[in-house]
């Protein structure tokens, strides 16, 4: 990104002042190196977002931002329904409520490594991954309805996991206000055989070791111990979310036109929150959030079954589950006044600071865990929301690494077999149905996640707690 186009606020905050049709500024959180590496398209897309009606504050851009569809990935924007504010399907993304959850095992690295190969095989056999895999579950119309209403709460009632898991999920595992009636027959059909599937692309199931602790107090309250093994699951709302995203991207083109909203980019298609299409999308999107939460809950259950078989003493407790493709109704303090806002986080994680009532009692005084997924074979991180994140970024932080290289470039640069062997030498076992998929998702094709989290920490939008290194990766 051309640094000359930005005003430097401080070491890690950059501003694009409102000009032309912009109704608010853009604020980018990144160090100078990340800013220089960032695509110019990010600035253009974030500026476009600020032209939408009812935007409040700014368009906030996270350190891992890259070029997305209309909204930059790593973009946050809040809208006030009372001021003509809009909701945008592109501002949420195709994979609605894509997110990450981390479970602790209480096992040491040595204990797990002794049985790493059988564990990899058992996990790979238990969790359907990649295209062409089918779930053991097929939902009836009635079950589909209940799942879309109930989310992880529904999954737990069906026997997938424990009641105590729910308090460790955003919105206690169930997004209220979901309207299954707004979810099309197509979206349901696409989901019918996909419950509990991981998907493909950058989605994964990893067994990781806590290899560094930066904040002992926060780590302790999250149950993270150096040298212990955790499990991280990264996936979303599967075919249902993809179909809803597809349908509303189209419907919102029309809606924007009808409401006289000028779109600088077709992908920014949106509808006023108070319009029929806006409300319909909100209801469908919330149902998709529930689908994603139920999906991760079911996978969690299957992972627990595998561990119960191989490591009978292990207790797999959920640390937290965060979504990074959402639009949520939240209360924020803007210029001293409390306001109800609809916050889009596209490739960004909610990061509530200490004391927020949404945070589970066990670590409310510490702050909300923010889970940052790495790419296959690199580190993942756990951060925590800060006192400052509310004022800085409407309590939002980054979500992952972001690609540095296209899939085609990756395919030309190395083979899947080379990557599997490289990772094995580094102590990471990979299981995937496709070597081409492994080549496309190689760690080298991603940005350096270490730099991203350091910038987030330096900018104080979230604080580093622990680093997780993978020892086993199941990839779609």
């Amino acid at each position: 990104m051309d640094i000359k186009k930005l005003e430097r606020v401080d070491e890690t905050v950059w501003r694009i002042p409102p000009k032309g049709k912009m109704r608010a500024p853009v604020l980018i959180f990144a160090d100078e190196e990340l800013i220089r590496e960032m695509d110019d398209k990010v600035a253009e897309q974030a500026s476009n977002v600020t032209t939408l009606p009812g935007i409040v504050g700014a368009c906030y851009v996270m350190p891992d931002a890259h070029w997305g569809y209309g909204f930059p990935i790593g973009g946050v924007a809040a809208f006030d329904a009372e001021e003509g504010g809009v909701i945008s399907a592109g501002g949420v993304g195709f994979d609605i409520s894509c997110g990450v959850r981390t479970l602790r095992t209480g096992l040491t690295r040595e204990e797990v490594e002794e049985a790493a190969e059988p564990l990899a095989n058992a996990l790979y056999a238990s969790v359907p991954v990649g295209l062409g895999s089918r779930s053991k579950i097929s939902l009836s119309d009635k079950e589909m309805e209940a799942m879309l209403e109930g989310g992880a709460e529904w999954a737990v009632a069906q026997g997938y996991g424990k009641k105590t898991d729910l308090e460790r999920i955003e919105e206690h595992g169930r997004r209220r206000g979901a309207m299954p009636s707004e979810v099309s027959a197509y979206a349901r059909e696409r989901q019918r055989r996909e419950m509990g599937t991981l998907g493909s692309g950058n989605h994964y199931l990893e067994v990781q070791v806590v290899d560094e602790i930066y904040d002992p107090k926060a780590a302790e309250s999250f149950g993270l111990k150096q040298g212990e093994v955790v499990i991280t699951i990264h996936c979303g709302s599967r075919g249902l979310g993809h179909q809803i995203g597809t349908e509303y991207l189209k419907k919102m083109q029309q809606a924007a036109k009808e409401h006289g909203i000028e779109l600088p980019d077709r992908e920014l298609a949106c509808a006023p929150l108070k319009s029929k299409v806006g409300q319909s999308y909100l209801g469908a999107m919330r149902a998709a959030i529930n689908c994603a939460l139920a999906n991760r809950q079911i996978i969690t259950h299957w992972v627990r079954q595998v561990f119960a078989e191989l490591f009978p003493k292990a207790e797999l407790d959920l640390i937290y589950d965060v979504s990074h493709n959402t639009c949520k109704e939240e209360t924020h303090v803007i210029e001293g006044k409390k306001r109800r806002l609809f916050v889009h986080r596209k490739g960004a994680t909610r990061a509530f600071g200490p004391g927020h009532p949404e945070i589970p009692q066990a670590f409310r005084s510490i702050g909300q865990p923010v889970i940052i997924g790495g790419s296959m074979g690199t580190a993942s991180y756990i951060l925590v929301g800060t006192e400052q994140s509310e004022a800085l970024s409407l309590s939002s932080a980054c979500h992952g690494a972001g690609r540095a290289m296209s899939r085609n470039q990756a395919l030309k640069a190395w083979t899947g077999q080379e990557i599997v062997e490289q990772l094995r030498r580094r102590g990471v076992i990979v299981r995937s149905p496709s070597l081409r998929g492994v080549a496309e998702e190689a760690p080298q094709a991603y940005k350096n996640v270490d730099k991203v989290v350091r910038a987030a920490d330096q900018a104080k939008i979230a604080k580093l707690v622990a680093r997780l290194r993978p020892i086993l990766c199941i990839k779609g």
Partner: protein
Amino acid sequence: MARARWDHFEHMADVGVRGYGATPEEAFAQAALALTAVITSVDEVAPRERLEIELENSGDLELLLVDFLNAVIYEMAVRGMLFGKVEVHLAKDHLKASLWGERVDRAKHRPAVEVKGATYTQLKVAQEGELWVAQCVVDV
């Protein structure tokens, strides 16, 4: 003589699919093959089953391309199929397509990735010289 073919174009996070042909129909059909190629080698997909798609044509060829690719993505998803041969027929108010393919065989096709949806990013349907080009980025 214009020759029908397809390719991929670069997009950082995802993939661009592009079809070329002597007519918009050919370009659309080739773009659908480019979509298959995101997942697996087109040559590996045997034309065992045939499927028909019919869509409304509002007159905007670009929006129609996105609708068409999304319809193909939908059929892939719910039927668990891949398509290796595609024919498109365009009329004033509708599009009809025939797709030939087979069920995903994980051992044979080794699917690299699943496509979530076609987007409006870098969307273009246009005649360039003698060739029609139909392209957009697909989210994977």
